[in-house]
């Protein structure tokens, strides 16, 4: 049964290698493509993270990681992906104050929940900074590319608030009710993933706004990461598959932009 647990990570490693080869080809064609360079960096970090996690689980199956190096790789990945988006934003001309403020609040609430779950203060706070950096620029990019309508922004905000609320409630209610709240969290997470997958695919079909494709692919990635950090078992593995898909879509969106 242990082999099945490795399957999502193995698939992700294969996809990451394919994507890395594609990004390196993009860099060789244009060595000044900053977005491709930062993206390649993020892919290398993600690849190292997966390999480290796999190696650790195989070599030391029953020992807990007190301080995991793959977390450092995840920080590098978030920061590099944030840098991809930052390099695509011309100036802070677009008014995204509300969204940026909300993203910081959302990350802070997430960090509080991670600490409550794991008790690992330092790792969780640093992860919060790295993820916060990514979400901060994602919000500006989403706003700049006009990828979401006003109604979609409202739904996204409501979903984020609902996630934080249901997760927080699990600490204050009895076990049976906590399980119900967990199920609601899972449903919101999966619904969000389905929504963003559909949005990304539809945006690719429209073939009109390259910037919106990048925004939505990165948003799908951010949502899948949030889902992975908030869930366990089945939803965790489903979110990992979604995360793998989003990595490929991020690559496709960057490639499509270069090829015009």
């Amino acid at each position: 049964m242990k082999g099945i647990e490795y399957l999502p990570a193995l698939i992700q490693i294969v996809v990451l290698i394919i994507v890395l080869a594609g990004v390196l080809r993009m860099i060789l064609r244009d060595e000044k493509n900053i977005k491709a360079i930062f993206f390649a960096f993020a892919i290398v970090a993600s690849l190292l993270s997966d390999i480290y996690w796999l190696a650790y689980d195989i070599l030391r199956p029953f020992s807990r990681m007190p301080f995991a190096a793959n977390e450092i790789a995840e920080w590098a990945m978030f920061v590099s992906l944030g840098a991809v988006l930052a390099s695509d934003i011309k100036a802070f001309g677009v008014d995204a104050r509300k969204e940026r403020f909300f993203s910081i609040l959302f990350v802070m609430a997430n960090v509080a929940l991670w600490i409550a779950w794991s008790g690992e203060w330092v790792q969780d706070i640093v992860t919060g900074f790295a993820l916060g950096y990514l979400l901060f620029y994602l919000m500006i990019h989403l706003k700049q590319s006009e990828s979401l309508s006003k109604m979609e922004w409202r739904i996204l905000a409501a979903a984020c608030i609902a996630l934080i609320t249901t997760n927080t409630m699990t600490f204050f209610v009895d076990q049976s009710l906590a399980a119900t709240f967990d199920q609601i969290t899972g449903m919101i997470l999966i619904a969000g993933e389905i929504y963003f997958i559909t949005d990304v695919i539809l945006e690719f079909r429209k073939d009109k706004n390259p910037s919106a494709r990048i925004s939505l692919a990165f948003a799908l990635f951010a949502w899948s990461i949030t889902s992975m950090y908030m869930s366990a078992d089945v939803i965790y593995y489903v979110s990992m598959f979604v995360s793998t898909f989003s990595i490929y879509m991020m690559f496709k969106s960057l490639k499509a932009e270069v090829e015009g």
Partner: protein, 213 residues
């Protein structure tokens, strides 16, 4: 028990004296080499302290603590060179290699004094794996810094991202060699392979540098 400070003094004093009689790039190389050895000693102090503070075993500390501390300590002189001297690309890469070489040389000296040098195959593996690994991780970091500076994206995210990848590479190596068997063989061949890839990349960057000048 070895007296690492005494070993450092013993190796560093002739090198420091030699600085008086050498010039230009050779002087820079030797100075950075000594600095690398000093950083290795400082890294050992900090890792040792954290090891005691967290109560980890030596094996666990080498997997979890050492990579983070050692890569940070190697980053410090690299940042110092950038901030104070802003060296050109070739000099910067050379200084990075010297720091890595000094770091691994001192680490190897201490290791040999602790564990003995009777097994030539093991000593060769140690030299080719750990020795090269320290050079590879800092050279990769310096190449990334050179690229980032050329593209005008040398910023906190670029530095943090770069050093994080160096840490994970180092941690992966330490994890793989911490267990005997096939994983350790994979770990041992990792640094020479990456060194080969970096050599190709370094040559490419050097050619670009020459054509730009």
């Amino acid at each position: 028990m070895i007296y690492a400070e005494n070993i450092l003094l013993c190796i560093a004093i002739p090198l420091i004296v030699s600085l008086l009689f050498i010039h230009a790039d050779v002087r820079k190389y030797v100075a950075a080499f000594v600095l690398g050895m000093g950083m290795c000693l400082l890294a050992a102090y900090i890792s040792g302290f954290l090891n005691l503070a967290t109560g980890m075993s030596n094996n666990d500390a080498s997997v979890f603590i050492s990579p983070v501390v050692e890569e940070l300590m190697k980053l410090l002189p690299l940042m110092l060179f950038i901030v104070l001297f802003n060296p050109n690309d070739n000099t910067f890469a050379m200084l990075a290699v010297a720091i890595g070489a000094g770091f691994s040389t001192f680490e190897n000296c201490c290791y040999i004094l602790t564990s003995g040098a009777d097994s030539l195959p093991y000593i060769l593996i140690r030299g080719l794996a750990v020795g090269v690994m320290h050079i590879v991780s800092i050279l990769a970091l310096s190449i990334w810094f050179i690229v980032a500076k050329r593209l005008k994206v040398f910023s906190l995210p670029a530095i943090a991202g770069g050093v994080s990848i160096a840490m994970v590479f180092h941690a992966l190596y330490n994890l793989l060699v911490s267990e005997s068997g096939i994983s350790s063989y994979i770990g041992f061949v990792m640094p020479p392979i990456v060194a080969g890839l970096l050599y190709i990349l370094y040559r490419r960057l050097s050619k670009q540098n020459v054509s730009q000048n």
